[in-house]
């Protein structure tokens, strides 16, 4: 990768690190997803900085940012937009919904009804909205960051598998360690650092970076390694649902993105291995016996990695 790319990556990483302390890996993963043109699901308990992270990313890009707070009474039209009658002009005109933005923060996505959730589906996979039979393209780049709180259970609608599959990566933030939490306390003394954040990348730059990522070389052996991993999850008897081709594609693209961010123009098996859990774990579905037996998706992916020989 050229030096310009590296500079852009470091700019946005520094920018994000100013707000989100001590979470370099999560930031990098989010960035990897952004450059791989995939959507992200941030999953963790409240107060760990999910929304802040998404907002800082949006602010770092000089583009449109919209936030949708998902509530039980939200309707599909509230997301995509709708036509309304203008008595002055005597015509119907279309008002764009909040998805017409470069970065969309779908906050607490599991609090809305499945009907509204699936309205987001089309948007996420096709980058377009169809309203009243008319197709409307979304602005580019289009990046959805959804957050959900897995610990609350009352009044939530767990995301259906089909929808989970559309997220390229699931990131858990976790609590910061003591030193970093101390920094957080002091940094917010005079005001939230988020307010001082300036855009460091233009949308055009993001698009060009997304283009460059595709030039990263993936050796046949690496692609084969990805497929072997995926194949193993499909053969796993503990899984009701293995990983779809969409999953392999995501792992492929994410590996390219990670390689580029690390300054390489070729993918290493290490990239695949580092990304396997965040990219794949949310796509598998354990069968009941395995779930109550205490098995976890992460463990199953890790086991698959343990059993698959690495190309050299």
């Amino acid at each position: 990768m050229n030096s310009q790319f590296a500079a852009q990556v470091s700019r946005i990483e520094t920018n994000l690190a100013r707000v989100i302390r001590g979470k370099t890996e999560s930031i990098r993963l989010l960035l990897t997803a952004l450059l791989a043109a995939g959507h992200t699901l941030l999953e963790d308990v409240p107060g760990t900085g999910k929304t802040t992270l998404a907002k800082s990313l949006a602010r770092s890009i000089d583009g449109e940012f919209r936030r949708i707070q998902f509530t039980p009474d939200l309707l599909p039209a509230d997301i995509t937009g709708s036509s309304f009658y203008s008595p002055k002009e005597g015509t119907f005109s279309f008002r764009e919904g909040p998805v017409f933005a470069n970065v969309v923060l779908a906050d607490e996505i599991n609090r809305t009804s499945p009907r509204t959730q699936s309205a987001l589906l089309e948007v996420m996979s096709e980058n377009q909205v169809t309203i009243e039979g008319r197709r409307r393209d979304l602005p580019q780049p289009f990046f959805v960051v959804a957050t959900q709180n897995p610990s609350d259970y009352h009044g939530t609608y767990p995301l259906p598998e089909a929808q989970l599959d559309r997220f390229m990566v699931r990131i858990t933030l976790g609590y910061p360690d003591m030193d970093h939490e101390m920094e957080i306390l002091y940094s917010q003394n005079d005001g939230h650092p988020l307010d001082d954040l300036d855009p460091v990348l233009t949308t055009a730059e993001v698009l060009s970076m997304q283009e460059q990522i595709r030039t990263v070389r993936v050796d046949r052996a690496i692609a084969e390694y990805i497929l072997r991993l995926i194949e193993r999850t499909r053969a796993d008897s503990r899984l009701r649902l293995g990983i779809s081709p969409r999953g392999s594609l995501a792992l492929y693209r994410m590996s390219q993105s990670r390689a580029a961010i690390e300054g390489r123009d070729f993918v290493l098996p290490d990239d695949v291995r580092a990304l396997a859990v965040p990219v794949l774990a949310h796509r598998v579905l354990l069968d009941t016996k395995a779930r109550y037996g205490g098995a976890l998706p992460q463990t199953i992916i890790e086991e698959a990695m343990d059993k698959t020989p690495v190309p050299r």
Partner: protein
């Protein structure tokens, strides 16, 4: 990376508890005589208070192991009481093996393997070994309380192991729910285990005798204790011959030309007859005199020139169940060389009894002249003559009449005997069953018209009573009839060879055997041969027995030598096996048919092969499921400070070049490619020049770390 200051991993409390309980069991079954176990307990608990561990690969571990082995051997010899419990091991061996397992458990508890989540599992496993070794006795009541406690701690230990391996970051509601449910299931499993343990224990306790018998039979002889014990009972004339039984082997006779003497081996003789039962019974006999414990050797006729040539026959008692010594009537000497004391009331014609447990061997000296009166044929006294002439008052007068008519004009006792035998053999036929009808069975048998068929007890009893009616003293005898050969110079006696006959006193001569049973009823007329399965089973028993005999002949030192060398060779073999396994971990994980270098340039593959060989040579074979970078990171993380980093530095440079060539586009850039190839060659040459560092730390195959 300084590991000295970090918190050393501690075993979950339940795992430690399992260890302590198992050692406690060892202390209890060892009758508190294994002081080392106290030390073990203390050392196990000390892991909580001392923040230091034995490093993996450290020679200290082996030193401790060997030392503990020696101390365990020494202290296991301290046994205060010899236990007669049925157990697979001798008390000292139980202590020894328990201490060996306990020592290994301790070593594992103190061992430090970075990132190894299995350590508690290994300790649990070993505690199980200790516990099972300690409980290898069915007597100790302590086990009753310890077993449920141990099972509980075992389950808790397994649970904590499970928790430990759980991914730390997972807090999703679903998994929490799953945890709650599986916790309930575990609690249920604990209750179930306790319950089934209790039930199992009660059942086991109830059938302990049977199980012990079964174990004894497996190790020794299969025996029909019931059948053979009947031989020591009072015979009672019934519908079928109660003594005639299975083909279980009772005696083996070994001697010159097998057994050539009188085939009647007598066990007990009876003189009083009442209502179809011969007496006296065992209880009454116990009060008869003399009935003292005698020497091993019976009063012999040795030195008596009349005895002449004798055949010495070795008799081995195989089956248990009755305490009798069997010998022919004319035996001149019975020598129980290695058996215990015997009890004998000679005035009553036997029986000779011994409490010795089979298999034991005694020697019979049998005169070639069958007319010799042996030690069992004691002289007739007026008092005993009265007993041998006793005819029940209730006996039907027709029987006396019949007796007189049979004897007719014969005057000499020998003729009388011949007449009676001839009469019984010709007038009655042999049958294993008879319906004697109401009243005295012998009377019914003798006076029946048409003549009834009966088994040997009837013939023997009839002969005895008829002869008594005509003035010949007789007695009723039970024993075995020898007829079956078993290889050269050997005869075998089975339970189905049980027989009954009579002995009559001939004035001026002595006791003679009177067998009035028709030929088809004698045990030598066997309609069915021995089943093949039975013969096979007997061969196995004999093989077992010969091993036992051989072991019995060994001196204690020799046994120690054998056990010791077996133990040591097992330990050494196991250690070598483990070492080889560990050497091969890099290779062992290879997936057959999978080529890690598929699609790689040939020159690159050759370089990679050399590189992997280098890793193996430095004692760090790279597992197939990790990348070299990951492997090297963990090697570097666990390398000790004094270990030269040169190899790792060289390897890092090699890997970064190699990866660019393998997965990147380096090889297409001609000039760079040549330079890179040269550099890789150079790096490998440098690595190969380094001395092999086999003492290096080996990273364990654990959780995969993301390469930084």
């Amino acid at each position: 990376m300084n590991e000295k200051t970090e918190q050393m991993p501690r075993l979950p409390w339940a795992v430690t508890l399992s260890g302590v309980i198992s050692l406690g069991a060892l202390l209890l079954t060892g009758h508190g005589a294994v002081p080392l176990a106290y030390v073990y307990v203390a050392a196990l608990i000390a892991t909580y208070f001392i923040n230091a561990r034995i490093e993996n690969g450290s020679p200290v571990r082996w030193f401790v192991r060997v030392a503990l082995l020696g101390i365990a051997y020494a202290s296991s010899r301290i046994i205060d009481a010899s236990s007669s419990d049925f157990a697979l091991l001798q008390p000292w061996a139980r202590n020894f093996f328990g201490l060996v397992y306990g020592g290994e458990m301790l070593v594992q508890a103190w061992r430090y393997v970075p990132g190894n989540p299995r350590a508690p599992l290994v300790v649990l496993f070993l505690s199980g070994f200790v516990f099972l070794t300690a409980c290898n006795t069915f007597e100790d009541t302590n086990i009753r309380f310890l077993a449920p406690l141990y099972v509980l701690s075992l389950l808790l230990g397994l649970r904590s192991y499970n928790n430990q391996t759980r991914f730390a970051g997972e807090t999703s509601e679903r998994s929490r729910r799953a945890t709650t449910i599986s916790a309930r299931m575990r609690a249920g499993a604990v209750c179930l285990a306790l319950l089934s343990g209790l039930v199992g224990f009660r059942t086991f306790n109830q059938y302990r005798g049977d199980i012990t018998d079964w174990g004894n039979n497996l190790l020794g002889q299969r025996l029909e204790r019931f059948e053979t014990s009947l031989m020591a009972e009072q015979p009672s004339l019934g519908q079928s011959f109660g003594l005639r039984g299975s083909p279980v082997r009772v005696l083996r006779l070994t001697g010159t030309e097998g057994y050539a003497g009188d085939p009647h081996l007598r066990g007990m003789s009876f003189d009083t007859y009442t209502d179809g039962t011969w007496g006296p019974g065992v209880r009454e006999r116990a009060n008869l005199t003399p009935n003292v414990e005698s020497d091993l050797r019976l009063p012999t006729g040795v030195g008596n020139p009349l005895i002449g040539v004798t055949t010495v026959v070795q008799v081995t008692r195989l089956a248990r169940g009755n305490p009798l010594i069997y010998a022919p009537l004319n035996v001149s000497e019975v020598d129980l060389a290695d058996a215990e004391k015997i009890r004998w009331a000679p005035e009553y014609g036997g029986p000779i009894r011994t409490p010795a447990a089979p298999p034991f061997t005694y020697t019979l000296s049998i005169p070639a002249n069958e007319n010799i009166q042996g030690i069992l044929a004691e002289k007739m006294t007026p008092e005993s003559r009265k007993r041998y002439m006793d005819v029940p008052k209730k006996l039907d007068p027709k029987v006396r009449k019949l007796a007189r008519s049979i004897v007719a004009d014969a005057k000499r006792p020998r003729d009388k005997i011949d007449n009676v035998v001839a009469y019984l053999m010709t007038h009655h036929q042999y049958s294993l069953t008879i319906d004697p009808g109401p009243g005295d069975p012998v009377t019914n048998f003798l006076l029946s018209n048409p003549p009834k068929d009966a088994h040997c007890e009837y013939f023997a009893a009839s002969a005895a009573l008829l002869l008594r009616c005509v003035g010949v003293p007789t007695r009723y005898v039970t024993g075995y009839y020898v007829h079956e050969g078993d290889g050269p110079n050997t005869s075998i006696v089975r339970q189905r060879d049980a027989h009954a006959w009579a002995e009559a006193w001939v004035n001026g001569f002595g006791w003679v055997t009177v067998d009035a049973t028709p030929g088809s009823g004698r045990p030598d007329f066997q309609p069915e041969p021995i089943a093949k399965a039975q013969a096979f089973w007997e061969r196995i028993q004999d093989a077992f027995q010969s091993v036992r005999d051989w072991l019995g002949d060994l001196k204690p030192e020799q046994i120690n030598l054998i056990v010791g060398s077996l133990t040591i060779s097992t330990l050494v073999g196991g250690a070598i096996y483990l070492l080889i396994r560990r050497r091969q971990t890099g290779q062992a994980e290879r997936v057959p048919g999978y080529d890690a270098y598929a699609g790689a340039d040939e020159r690159l593959a050759a370089l990679a092969g050399r590189f992997e060989q280098e890793l193996v040579r430095h004692g760090q074979p790279s597992p197939q499921n990790r990348t070299w970078q990951e492997h090297l990171s963990s090697v570097a993380n666990h390398a000790s400070e004094d270990q030269p980093q040169t190899m790792i530095t060289l390897a890092r440079r090699f890997i970064s070049l190699y990866e660019r060539a393998r997965f990147g586009t380096l090889l297409r850039e001609t000039e760079d490619a040549v330079a890179a190839m040269d550099e890789m060659q150079d790096l490998l040459t440098q690595m190969e020049a380094l001395p092999a560092d086999t003492g290096g730390r080996r990273p364990t195959k654990g959780t995969l770390t993301t390469a930084a």
